[in-house]
Subunit: 119 residues, 2 copies
DNA sequence: AACGCATATACTTGTCAAGGTATATATTGG
DNA sequence: CCAATATATACCTTGACAAGTATATGCGTT
């Protein structure tokens, strides 16, 4: 399995990771929220732990899992060159900002301004 | 295959994408630089194109492939909540600053000082 | 000790995707 | 039109991995 990317390629694993963003969770809690069978959850957690995405602590018969940042930062690092690339693409950047539309400041932005240059 | 993550889970595909960061490339160029059989290259390029990571233009019998930013931004977007999480982790932040080393005070850091608090 | 709850692991099976090899398609030059 | 180059596609085989089901392990309560 190896790589960070293979780990997060699995949808259920991404779901679990997303759950853990808010706070640590027990296996049972994950199981219920994601409506997936317990062995599935345990197995994915095993993979995630071995890969360093999460860590666990024991509380009686419960195990609580929480996120660890490092591996995510790897993904972030991988993106760097591409990010450089796409911010060179002025058009793309603009489109992106448009999509996020409600940019914080400057509430006087009337509906959907589009100052495009039609390159 | 579907998801962005499944696409970039494949090492050869990531290699191809990395190659294309610098500039557009023909299939043959990729083939030679990455030392992989031509059908392999073509097949991965097909996947990447269908997934919207690259686009191609024709030049005689050559096809040039180049990056498209959108799907990368999806990955970036997925990272957002986790990024928020890990910048909350003071320790991680500290480690990060440590790595950039030239923190303001105390330039007398001998070799590899680690002033950790063993939380 | 026995039971019950929470979680982990073993084993089997089906699916899917990547690689290899061969072949097809397209374009250029003679 | 023929040959050569560049790229795409078809087909087959293999391996990996996720799901399902069953069972094991660990801990706390009585």
């Amino acid at each position: 399995m190896e790589s960070v990317f293979e780990i997060i390629a699995e949808p259920n694993r991404r779901a679990i990771l997303s759950l853990l963003v808010s706070s640590q969770q027990s296996v049972g809690a994950i199981e219920r929220q994601l409506r997936m069978p317990q062995p599935t959850v345990s197995k994915h957690l095993r993979v995630l732990r071995d890969a360093g995405f999460v860590e666990s602590t024991v509380d009686a018969q419960r195990r609580f899992y929480r996120l660890k940042p490092e591996r995510f930062q790897e993904v972030d690092a991988w993106l760097v060159p591409f990010r450089r690339f796409w911010s060179a693409q002025v058009d793309a950047l603009e489109r992106h900002l448009d999509r996020m539309d409600h940019t914080k400041k400057d509430q006087a932005t009337p509906t959907k301004r589009k100052t495009r240059k039609t390159k």
